[in-house]
Amino acid sequence: MKSFAFAQADTPETAVAEGVAAGRFIAGGTNLIDLMKLQVETPAKLVDISRLDLSDIEESEDGGLLIGALVPNSDLAADPRVRERYPVLSRALLAGASGQLRNKATTGGNLLQRTRCYYFYDVDARCNKRVPGSGCDGREGFNRILAVLGTSEACIATHPSDMAVAMRALDAVVVTLGHDGDRRRIPLSDFYRLPGDTPHLETVLRPGELITHVALPAPPAGRSTYRKVRDRASYAFALVSVAATVAIEDGRISAAQLAFGGLGSQPWRDPAVEAALVGHAPGDAAFNAAADALLAEAKGFGHNDFKIPLARRTLIAVLRELTETEA
């Protein structure tokens, strides 16, 4: 680990002031510390935000929830309001990591997890995300866990979060404080960048900009679930995951919100998937059309080719479950 300066923030404003010059915020540290040990990340300064007053979950006027950025994953998953109104989020959180990690990991930090690409973690491998312009050893290397959607020539890494997938399905909004004192409300759909030529730039956050809250709009109608397919029963990243809420009125799908993990360079959501469902009677015709829409642009790189049929199968099973439709 490289030596670094350390600052303790007392208020969000001081955190932003400390963070603006080459600082990295640290809260739970469940990912950042590992990356620093490996020198994948070498921040000159860490700004400890763990003592900020951002650990509450409040009701918002629109019927949603305003979640403090420091709410631990365990607490968020266990919150009765989340369990009752956003079960997809609770399930996604509990599908992630281990009990110990969920106790430390925070809501804001979880959104900013780095990829688990093997070559990103090995500083003696080429990785455009870690060292821009150095190349990509994942593309033609062992790419079993890497992405099939939203990839670029420069990078095929996946975003590893489960929570963010559910948040994406729920139309969550990231609330931030910038160094100029501005507060921004960034829909999660605008929060992540596609890798393109700049895979090292993962979000639209500006230097020093601090996530203070995540806002959830009023819960969607219908039934919801989070299904995660993985190599072992716990403590493994998703090969494919589906966060879904589906509502039915008069025998037709009236609303659908779906997001996917393990497939994309970011928590993946595609309006075409939902368009293929809404207005249609639940059934395999609509479900296959949704899968077709999701996977139209999917591209495997060899070891991860199986994710494409797996995603189709998982999506169809989830839709059948939520709509109580038989094959």
Binding site: M1, K2, S3, K37, Q39, S98, R116, Y118, Y119, Y121, D122, V123, D124, A125, D137, E140, G141, F142, R144, I145, V229, R230, D231, R232, A233, S234, Y235, A236, F237, L239, V240, F306, P309, L310, R312, R313, T314, I316, A317, A327
Partner: protein, 742 residues
């Protein structure tokens, strides 16, 4: 104080065991570990936990390329960093490879040549661990990288026959080809297993200190101190008595700590140079890259059976891998030699030289991977013949070792199969695959035989009876989490008539008599026998003090009883009594075939949509001679089965074909099972005594659980969903193509 010796060479069966006539009632009980409280309270000191005032911290520098030569190290930047003391590199002395277990010579030394990605090259020493780690990353390795051998499948034709080690690389009898031609039923299938890592919880680590006389003490995470000491001495140009190894607690080894690893010599060299104690603990990544792996295997199995399902032909042809100039080969066919009958037999091993991390022993070398193929082929044969796989194995119970024509020392495989089938509800298994489904889940059952060769190693232990009437057991044997402390205390207490709290066991220090070390499931039988022999000698001394014959003596609760009188041990021992017991392997291992046996019964659920596999029920029946401690024995089997489930479903070290690097070199992506993967594992011990094995009549157990376990999982998966996967691990991507459409 008198010290006598009692030595036994196992040349013939020992018909009478003192354990059958002693009365302290400690043997076999499910007693808690005597070292348990120290471990949970943090008082058990592991190698890296010894404190020294002026301790310096070392971090190994990694070769960032997979094959070639080191031209030099640029260390200026590293040396300029705060708290950095030195960059130590002795290119002749540093270890290129780890050493195998039991070897008495240094492993391959010399680090100017790089044979595998991540090979340690130098040691950065600093005032703190983080400073050393930071500086290690700042060392630039100037090198000339070449193209190494990184394509195993492409090199099968260039394989060579390795020299004999644990077993001969090639044996043949009868006529395999004719046998297959004549057989009513034949199987010809190829199985593959990947490289694996032991992934012991404790990382490899050493603290080296030198005294004024030039004697080295190494606190190490090591399974076999007696031979590790010789390896270390040879590597450093020292005499054996100039090296002391301390390994009182070891946090798992599973073979990976049988021999010394690069950090030990690096710590010793740096400590000598700097005149301070130096601690080197490998990171998880370094353990994966630069200690030892289990070789990948490619196994062709051909079976021939007559119309009754009786095997006539057993052929097991294997390809394994190791580094250049390394002789060790994974003994894949070790149990194929004796498990099933058949007059036509072939077992071969070919080595494919690869520029991959050293291959060596990992839990049940041979059986753990070989039985996946043999038992898998048996499952396929049963299906082809149309009989139950339990019945096929019962029909193939040999009268004697089919190759060496010697008797089995004890073998209750048929009983394990029958008892296990009854308890598990095997009769409810559908013979037709993919016929039992609960919602999205296929449910199936599988069975496999377990066997593991029983071995005896030379081992010594001293017992001292103190004037206060307590016993002290000393040997450099280790307890790597198996329960050795406890069973040695039980044996000593049982034979000397002392409750457990009157017996102290000191392990893992080469100042004590040399023990067997922990490996090959030989620890309990070998080290336990040395304690038995020492106690037997002390019983003779006590009888003398009681003026009676040893046979007349009863020892219980600290009292010696004979001829209607009773005296406390404390009165009899005078200034103290001491005895050293030593056991040596002898003719018994040639005159009999010694192995432990069991049967695994597994139920799995396979998700019809995703191909996810979950093991839902498990039963293992085990016959392994006398069980010394039912609790620690059960834990050994459970741990082994868990390993087997991991091998079957998740564990794979992935080598990058472009430079040989281990891609998934951490526990996030090298998937060992977690609790949620493992259902309650039921273990049933069948009563058995093995007179050929040792005076305890106990056989090895620690590796039996893994042997065959993965095959039971694979068979259950096939029974559940009808997809036969012959390539470990059985991850969902291998099942998906065979599952029904959604």
């Amino acid at each position: 104080m008198s010290e006598d010796t009692n030595t036994l060479t196992m040349d013939k069966p020992v018909e009478q065991s003192l354990l059958d006539t002693s009365v302290q009632e400690l043997i076999g009980k499910p007693l808690d570990r005597i070292d348990g409280p120290a471990k949970v309270a943090g008082r058990a000191t592991y190698a890296a936990e010894y404190g020294f005032d002026n301790l310096a911290y070392g971090f190994l520098v990694r070769a960032p390329f997979g094959f070639g030569d080191v031209d030099g190290l640029d260390t200026e930047a590293a040396l300029a960093l705060p708290d950095v003391i030195d960059v130590v590199s002795d290119v002749e002395t540093f270890l290129r490879n780890s050493q195998q277990g039991g070897e008495t010579k240094a492993p391959t030394q010399g680090v100017s040549r790089v044979d595998y990605f991540g090979q340690p090259l130098a040691l950065v020493v600093a005032e703190s661990y983080e400073a050393a780690r930071d500086a290690a990353a700042a060392v630039r390795v100037r090198h000339s990288a070449g193209v190494g051998e990184w394509d195993f499948d492409g090199r099968l034709d260039e394989a060579t026959t390795p020299p004999p080690s644990q077993i001969k690389p090639k044996t043949e009898q009868g006529d395999v080809e004719q046998g297959l031609t004549d057989a009513a039923f034949t199987i010809d299938a190829t199985y593959a297993t990947p490289s694996q890592n032991s992934a012991a919880m404790e990382l490899h680590g050493s603290i080296a200190t030198w005294d004024a006389e030039g004697k080295l003490t190494l606190y190490g995470a090591l399974q076999m101190p007696a031979s590790d000491r010789l390896q270390l001495a040879d590597a450093l140009g020292l005499k054996a008595d100039q090296v002391r190894i301390v390994a009182k607690y070891v946090g798992g080894g599973f073979g990976s700590k049988l021999g010394i690893a690069p950090e030990s010599v690096a710590a010793a060299v740096a400590s000598k140079k700097l005149g301070r104690p130096v601690k080197v603990v490998m990171t998880r990544h370094q353990v994966f890259e630069a200690t030892v792996r289990r070789s990948n295997t490619r196994q062709r199995v051909r079976l021939g059976a007559d119309a009754n399902g009786r095997l006539t032909t057993v052929s097991h042809e294997n390809h394994v891998s190791n580094l250049p100039d390394e002789d060790y080969f994974e003994p894949v066919g070790v149990s194929t030699h004796f498990l099933y009958p058949g007059e036509n037999r072939r077992v071969t091993h070919e080595q494919v030289v690869m520029n991959w991390t050293l291959a060596g022993s990992m839990r049940a070398p041979g059986e753990a991977v070989g039985m996946f193929a043999i038992e898998g082929a048996m499952d396929e044969l049963a299906e082809q013949i149309g009989i139950d796989p339990v019945e096929l194995r019962l029909r193939n119970e040999p009268e004697q070792d089919p190759e060496k024509k010697v008797p089995y020392s004890s073998r209750h495989l048929s009983q394990c199969l029958r008892e296990g089938a009854e308890r598990f509800g095997w009769s409810e298994r559908s013979a037709t695959p993919a016929t039992r489904r609960e919602g999205e889940w296929f449910v199936g059952m599988g069975v496999a035989t377990a066997t593991r060769t029983n071995m005896l190693q030379k081992s010594s232990a001293r017992i001292t009876l103190t004037p206060s009437g307590t016993a002290l057991v000393e040997t450099d044997m280790t307890d790597i989490g198996t329960g050795t402390y406890t069973i040695l205390a039980q044996i000593a207490g049982e034979l000397l008539g002392l409750p457990l709290d009157k017996v102290e066991v000191r392990l893992g220090d080469t100042d004590a008599p040399p023990g067997a070390g922990s490996g090959g499931s030989w620890g309990a039988g070998s080290s336990g026998t040395s304690v038995y022999l020492a106690a037997e000698q002390l019983r003779t001394q006590l009888a003398k003090a009681m003026d009676c014959d040893a046979e007349e003596l009863t020892l219980k609760d600290g009292q010696a009883i004979a001829r209607n009188h009773s005296r406390p041990l404390s009165e009899l021992v005078g200034t103290g009594m001491s005895a050293v017991g030593t056991v040596r392997p002898g003719k018994a291992e040639k005159q009999s075939n010694q192995a432990s046996y069991g049967a695994h019964f597994c139920e799995v659920r396979v998700n019809a949509t995703t191909g996810e596999v979950r093991v839902s029920r498990w039963l293992s029946t085990v016959a392994a001679g006398r069980i010394l401690n039912e609790k620690t024995a059960r834990s050994q089997v459970i741990g082994g089965v868990t390993f087997g489930i991991g091998a079957a479903l998740t564990e794979e070290l992935v080598h990058d074909p472009r430079d040989g690097r281990i891609v998934n070199n951490d526990l996030a992506e090298y998937h060992v099972p977690v609790n949620a993967d493992i259902p309650p594992l039921e273990v049933v011990f069948l009563p058995e005594r093995d007179h050929w094995a040792n005076p305890l009549h106990a056989k090895g157990l620690g590796e039996l659980g893994i042997s065959g376990a993965g095959a039971a999982v694979a068979a259950a998966i096939y029974n559940a969903c009808g997809v036969r996967v012959r390539d470990f691990p059985i991850t969902l991507d291998k099942l998906l193509p065979g599952l029904p459409p959604v």
